[in-house]
Amino acid sequence: MCHQTVSLAARALEAAGIPTVVMGCARDIVEHAGVPRFLFSDFPLGNPAGRPHDPASQRATLALALRLLESAPGPNTTVRNPLAWSDDPSWKRDFSNIDLVPPEEIARRRAEFDRIKEVAKSRREEDAAAG
């Protein structure tokens, strides 16, 4: 949801005349929504601003985002960060990959997700009550 949220916010800001750049790691979600400028880092979700404990990569990533902000020729401009997460791309197999979940694990995952939804619901109700 996170990439969708940010994409929709970028669109609203841009429609009101404020230029934006989205930094993120889920290319298809952002491009499906459609944003003006997108700096895509092909990293595990949770690292839109560079690699952890690697200030040089964080610096280079923001520098690219700023260049994109000032130089995109039009909307739906994606720039791909040339930095790689790892020399081994096998990390890309794992995220939410149902083919890797053993059948006996499915019911447990379902129960866990239902539990998470309940917690989120009560959290939302708390926020609403707090005003």
Binding site: V6, L13, H32, G34, G50, Q58, N76, S96, I98
Partner: protein, 177 residues
């Protein structure tokens, strides 16, 4: 790289999250797939002044650390109790403690140990010091991640816009997790 032409492995391409997530929840037994936001037309506003003169705001989906709301990392499991449902703002000069335990990050391959990998405030402040941007807007803003399109489009996005406008932002950097 392999072979005569140095091609990369075929699996070394961006993850197809939309397909992965659809298959995952279908197999778990949830019904109709989630309809992700999709537009063909995209707004565009050119930067109206040199970046070196622009006030740049930062928007994040990270949450302020909330004592008493369970494990928020690093390495925390998904923590729905740490979610938030209203836009918040923080002082850009305050060195905030923001966490992403409430977001479905890739917990197999990253642990949310270094705020610099998901919240680029430190580098944005450096860019201002170095004259690459004019200045950092006085506040950063937190965007709730919500399944509800109505909540995001009709409530949160207008609120973010109002706050960025109120701060006189000339441009906005948004970091997704």
């Amino acid at each position: 790289m392999s072979g005569r032409f140095g091609f990369a492995p075929a699996e070394d391409r961006p993850i197809a999250y939309l397909d992965r997530i659809r298959s995952y929840y279908e197999t778990l037994g949830y019904g109709k797939p989630y309809e992700w936001a999709h537009y063909v037309e995209t707004p565009f506003a050119a930067l109206g002044k040199p970046l070196a003169e622009a006030r740049v705001a930062l928007v994040t989906t990270a949450a302020p650390y909330q004592p008493g709301k369970g494990d928020q990392g690093p390495g925390a499991p998904y923590n729905a109790a740490a979610k938030f449902y209203s836009v918040y703002s923080g002082d850009s000069m305050s060195d905030p403690d923001l966490r992403i335990s409430h977001i479905a990050i890739d917990r197999d391959h990253t642990t949310a140990e270094d705020i610099g990998s998901w919240f680029p405030l430190r580098e944005l402040l450096a860019a201002a010091r170095e004259g690459r941007i004019g200045e950092v807007a006085p506040r950063f803003h937190g965007a709730p991640t919500n399944r509800s399109h109505a909540a995001t489009i009709e409530v949160d996005a207008p609120e973010l816009l109002a706050r960025c406008r109120g701060d006189g932002a000339d441009a906005v950097v948004l970091a997704a997790n």
